[in-house]
Symmetry: C2
Subunit: 299 residues, 2 copies
């Protein structure tokens, strides 16, 4: 049987998994992401180790890599990644040579969208806006069931759309980016100094903590207003919200749905797209990356 492995290389963790044709992760391994100022070789070694642990000596048919960064439109190079050391690096060919198998490359939000389309919340849907709400906001677009990659492969960078002209300073250097108002970081900020991170806010809100619940109202509202702008621009059939913060489910999505309906142009003269939580969970990147490798290997 063919072995396809997906690897999701994020800012803190490298997660590798064997993925079945049905989209199940049957064997996984992970490594800590090396510090960003260490050489590229350290990161590529960590990825290789996690991948080989999953393979366990079996021959590998293909590996897909999902990266938190800007991958070019043809899936060859990493242009830039905030939390990873690659810069204009021909990652695909370099790892394909090292590993002697098919290697596919895309950014993590695109891989998550592919996974949701094939196995999750977007199954069978043609035009989808996917927004991943984690530390920041990422995203991906599906048109007629296919990824819209754009000229540079950078389509879907929704988190850096400006929603306030004199807004909060973003890590990217710009002001008023959407992710300053509707991400995990924004959630922690809205909840105040009691909480150390997003999962802590979610746990408290599920426990009925008023401050944590109010933070979800605030952040969900800003999420929904931004979704209304995306829906005005793109008129999709479905909006899928993924990323770590989406694990809070309706705590986040209910205020987002209300704000979207209230803020959408011509809302009474149109079908309003459902706003649903992603279903493939934290392994969506791994699943989508493996699917990409499988598709390329069998094309």
């Amino acid at each position: 049987m063919s072995l396809y492995i997906g690897v999701d290389a994020g800012g803190t963790k490298v997660l590798a998994g064997e993925v079945t044709p049905e989209g199940h992760v049957v064997r996984a391994a992970h490594r800590r992401t090396p510090e960003r100022d260490l050489p590229v070789a350290d990161l590529e070694d960590a990825i290789t180790e996690a991948m080989l642990e999953v393979a366990g000596g079996r021959p590998i048919s293909g590996v897909g890599l999902a990266l938190a960064g800007l991958v070019d439109a043809v899936g060859e190079s990493v242009r830039f990644a905030t939390h990873l050391p690659w810069r204009e690096a021909p990652v695909r060919s370099s790892l394909a040579e090292r590993w002697g198998c098919v290697v596919a490359l895309d950014n993590d939000a695109n891989c998550a969208a592919l996974a949701e389309r094939a196995f999750g919340a977007a199954r069978g849907v043609g035009d989808v806006v996917m927004v991943t709400v984690g530390t920041g906001i990422g995203g991906a677009l599906l048109s007629a069931g296919r990824l819209v990659r754009g000229r540079n492969g950078m389509a879907g960078e929704f988190g850096h759309m400006q929603v306030e002209s004199e807004g909060l300073l973003c890590g990217c250097g710009l002001r008023g980016c959407w992710e300053q108002y509707a991400s995990g970081d924004a959630l922690v900020r809205a909840a105040g100094s009691t909480f150390v991170d997003g999962p802590a806010v979610t746990a408290a809100a599920l426990d009925g903590d008023a401050l944590a619940m109010a933070a979800f109202e605030t952040v969900g509202d800003r999420l929904g207003v931004g979704l209304a702008s995306l829906v005005a621009a793109l008129d999709p059939e479905l909006v899928v919200v993924g990323g770590g913060v989406s694990e809070a489910g309706d705590l986040l999505l209910d205020p987002a749905r209300s704000a979207m309906a209230r803020s959408l142009h011509g809302a009474t003269h149109r079908f309003l797209p459902p706003v649903v939580a992603a279903r493939c969970g934290p392994e969506a990147g791994v699943v989508g990356a493996a699917l990409l490798a499988r598709t390329q290997a069998t094309a």
Copy 2:
């Protein structure tokens, strides 16, 4: 020879024209748009008169209608139009029956984009963001050279993306819509009470009037910031700016280009799409509508 006529029905004027296969308007006629509270029949009569004047008794192969309003995704009905009396009206079939020829229907920004793609600034380009800057802001999206219409046929309503959470009240009832900051109306507001309309501001700015030139800087800047958001989301190859205000050319586009480059995420790691003025002029809607009719009649 086949006769194809395009009709652009806007808030103030109904413009009809015979359009050659090369996209030239060779014969035109117009009527005043009847007041919006008059019956639909008055508007349809005005359109029919302009169209018949262009035909001059010759048999008609097809008529395309470009409308300032929300047309459904299959080109059958007008859902809603701010300045026209149609509401959920099956306009295509009704006029096809009346006229006994092929009738095609789309919104004006989509028609303008089709014209620019076939004969103008977007010739041969696959992925295009078209923004029409007139009284408000409209828009259209091309992906792989084809219009992206969306679930409701409403994709491209860029003017109602929110760019300020506590912003100016828009005619649509929402707050902070982009068109409140970067349209012809915004230009007149920025220029102060000296000027009666957008063309007056343009004429004064071309004459070196400091107030009018400053208004173009202000509005061009807000246009460019919004374009940066669209480019972050869609990563197109080209941005085409049409509509009446775009006739000011670089007066509007130079500040827009600067603001876009300054406000775009990862600008130094990507190809920046050129921002160019539309080339088909005020007849773009007529040309695109006729092209749509020709395409449908010969499909």
